[in-house]
Assembly symmetry: D2
Homo-oligomer: 307 residues x 4
């Protein structure tokens, strides 16, 4: 019996000149949907991973960090989130975290890609953990922007859980000022939105800072925070935005109290201390955000991953 | 004139089944010292990088994060650091950050590998910025553990800036309880030590938690913190330890006041807010540290990067 | 629907500083046998491939070249091969080619690794094409050297179809003078042996020339030839050896006549012209063979793939 | 002193799903000319290599095979080659081999890319060995097709030494029927042309067979042959064509006699036996050539390396 030496590698191109590589144990699925290429790989270091258009979306080992970081800051900052809208969210893990909040009465998830959701539902039960079957959940397959444009309903929290804006991808019109204007129309008074905002690596801050600046043209409160999801290959930014609720006003103990009262089960990543740490981003990020003047518009979109 | 398409890649093996890859613009130096292999590469995304034994040590783009995070928490937490000892520190950038503190009267740097220091001094002036020529600096080439064992002198701050413990490498006996016992003998009353403690990726926490646990058998105050150095490929831990000084007791404003009074020039990564964020590590790390019982000893060393 | 862009790669390390990489479509099997690691990969460019200890053994696209080149020169040079012994031959494709010869009454295949043969039989029917079920075939799982040492039987043709000699691998004692002495004892009067002899790349001719030289200490006729199996990543050598039969004495037409008379079905790679070409190896190989004096012995084995 | 473990790799993409990788010792040059990107790398296994548009063109270790195979079959088949025209030939090694023939009175080399030739001249003296300074040589920088179109002069041998036809590259109009018609106009009565015709791997024979078929619409004698240049990553085809001279009519001894009489110094790859072997290509190639009906035209060009 010999020691395993891996020779099969998944290459995640972080940029044309940087990558993160993963030893592949198995290829559970590989195909093309109407909108994107899709793979579910089993890797040696990160377990089962979802790959869209060649980019790592989430891994079994650290999706708890991504999904807790995406969902709970907004949900816990909101005084009483009852209705939640998820833009994207293919794996169902964002929905899972949302539904752990006992206050939630209704969670609408709109993903453009039925094939991706169907495959995740079938092959990644560790991710969704049955969330799609919760009676509070409503799942629709269409353009989320169109849905929000046509909707009358308002939501307490809107979570934007989409891949990065790439030129040929389905997501780039969900990062523009016009889209945020639509979103803000669909928020209740103390409504909050949250989303990932790309890498915070000092050598590629354009996307991160431009999204934050664009958000600041629409929302009064723009609170960038961050988390480390190692499978992403680089440190990662998130931003919470709202008209009038500031996550930094919550003391540590209040965060822990709300977690205790509102959330079913135990969190692994988030608590009061994590909350305080996450929103205190390093100086270079605050300065880069301050300097950025670019506003992303439908007619002036921004694409990540270009050289 | 055609767009550049890189086809030369440096492979940084984070583990036998994970890697970070970098497009190479130029190979500035490649050789073998008495203790390790050494390369200075110019990469497209991170500028000039120092590689030891095939592992990324620091990059032009984000070494400010690593070196500010390594040096300033300990130096700012100390009431008045006058004498500093650096274990390792090859590039000279740790020395550079130490010498920015006006309180410092003497900084001793002991690195085992003269060839590495000489090459860095010659080829990486952006890193050391002349620090080696500062009259307060003393540079010695020998085993730092031996130096500390034989020394009478005590230091206010001891900064351990070494590569990770690998089986064939020079560093693994600088991570043991015996070494920390030597170190504590060489600290002044309110003396502080600080070091990097490896990745904080949830899939490889053994090294990180075992170092923290080993430190806690020697020091009263053990304060883990973290920073994101993207060129390392994974999020990274640091730990400050002392007999009686706790970094978390410093308010934001006090950190900023000390920076203003004590440090020459402007910091890019560290300030009061960064300080508060860095020491508030995510819940899963605090729990992993709590559960770890392993103590690293000379006779029971721990090696990173094994499958 | 988007064009496929592969991001999963199998790395075949030809040497520590050279490799051949293949886009992976699927991992059909991955495991460890008692003797070696084994994978069956489906690649985009070469179809289904057998990988042992991380090295490409054969691919669906070009195994016809390898197996025809390994089997037919010896079988066609022999006046009437009735009994054939195969050392190794895991995939069953060597057996398949042997059994296409109508003269063959008995073919004994001895492979040390039952798991490899079983998996090939199950997952690579395109390779063996039912050869194992032929009543003329006898399949044994044991050390082929031991089998030959203990046997009384003599064979007309002995085909050595094994992986390269690596330090930890099962094959290196099948490349020594002692082994060839055993083999020659088991040959009938005009008996012939044949085997692959490694790459003929000008930068790594040691293995190739040393095997040829070792053969020449045992056999009167040593006839090196070559073939291009692209999935091997480098051009490849073979050698036929016998006491008294020389393949170069066969005219083109005689080869074609024997193919027509003796072989069932059509060959894709081999015919009279291919025969003449294959045995006329380039000048630099003939000179390198002439200069090599090393004899491989049990006590002085030779390992491929060392730096 | 530790053993070298390479971690810098050049990736030569043979196709979108296959590659050959080389450990890099040094990057001697990297830049963009007017026509293509260019690199001169020092690799561990193949020495100094010329890379154009990311593709290996030739290596120090095996360029003797490529250049001898490209030049001598045509030159030796011709009864008395006095004037030679080289299309491309950047490194100067084709010119070097041509000028070894004592019959040659004039050799015109026309390469479109002065920067490539200048850099090779400066950094690859092992390749050209001073050939550019031979008084019989004339070197011009322009479109070779245009030169031949406008010329009155006729040549005994025309050697086409260019990179493969890629969509954005400078070479694809040098593989068309129209180009061969221009070439044939510039040949003397028993004139011969020769060129590389791409890989002969069974999974990508389109380029190879289409070039051969296109040649056969223009020339009476079309004689494909092959050689193994390991740095190319795959086995390689060449084709000699002429109105009335057939290389297969030359007996082994006549080839050796001509080499002895006409060529200065010793050849390493080519001699009478190599000649006989090279032109006896395997059956599957002859059949593939026979079946191919495609003719490459200016308006219907063919590009290698497309998925």
């Amino acid at each position: 019996m010999k020691a395993h030496r891996n020779s099969n590698w998944f290459f995640d191109n972080l940029s044309p000149e940087e990558g993160h590589i993963h030893g592949i144990k198995n290829i559970l699925y590989s195909g093309e949907s109407e909108f994107q290429s899709m793979e579910i790989l089993e890797t040696w270091s990160y377990g089962k991973c979802l790959i869209l258009d060649g980019k790592m979306q989430s891994s079994e080992v650290d999706e708890f960090i991504y999904h807790e970081a995406l969902v709970h800051p907004a949900m816990l900052t909101h005084p009483k989130p009852e209705s939640v809208f998820i833009v994207g969210g293919g794996e169902g893990a964002t929905l899972r975290e949302v539904l752990r909040h006992k206050t939630v009465k209704r969670a609408v998830m709109v993903d453009i890609d039925k094939e991706v959701v169907d495959k995740c539902r079938e092959l990644l039960p560790e991710y969704h953990q049955g969330a799609f079957d919760d009676p509070r959940a409503e799942l629709l397959f269409m353009d989320a922007r169109k849905y929000l444009e046509d909707a009358d309903e308002k939501f307490d929290v809107i979570i934007i859980d989409i891949s990065e804006p790439v030129e040929e991808g389905p997501a780039y019109l969900l990062y523009t000022q016009e889209f945020y204007n639509i979103v803000t129309e669909r928020l209740t008074g103390s409504g909050i939105i949250t989303q990932q905002t790309g890498t915070i690596s000092p050598n590629s801050l354009l996307n991160y800072t431009a999204v934050n600046n664009t958000l600041s043209t629409v929302f009064q409160v723009v609170a960038p925070y961050y988390a480390n999801i190692p499978s992403f290959g680089r440190p990662w930014g998130f931003t919470l935005a709202s008209k009038n609720v500031d996550p930094l006003s919550l003391p540590t103990e209040e965060v822990d109290k709300r977690i205790g009262k509102r959330i079913k089960g135990k969190l692994a990543f988030y608590d009061g201390i994590t909350h305080q740490g996450a929103f205190r981003i390093p100086k270079y990020l605050r300065e880069a955000n301050r300097k950025q003047k670019r506003v992303i518009r439908d007619t002036e979109p921004l694409f990540a991953y270009t050289a």
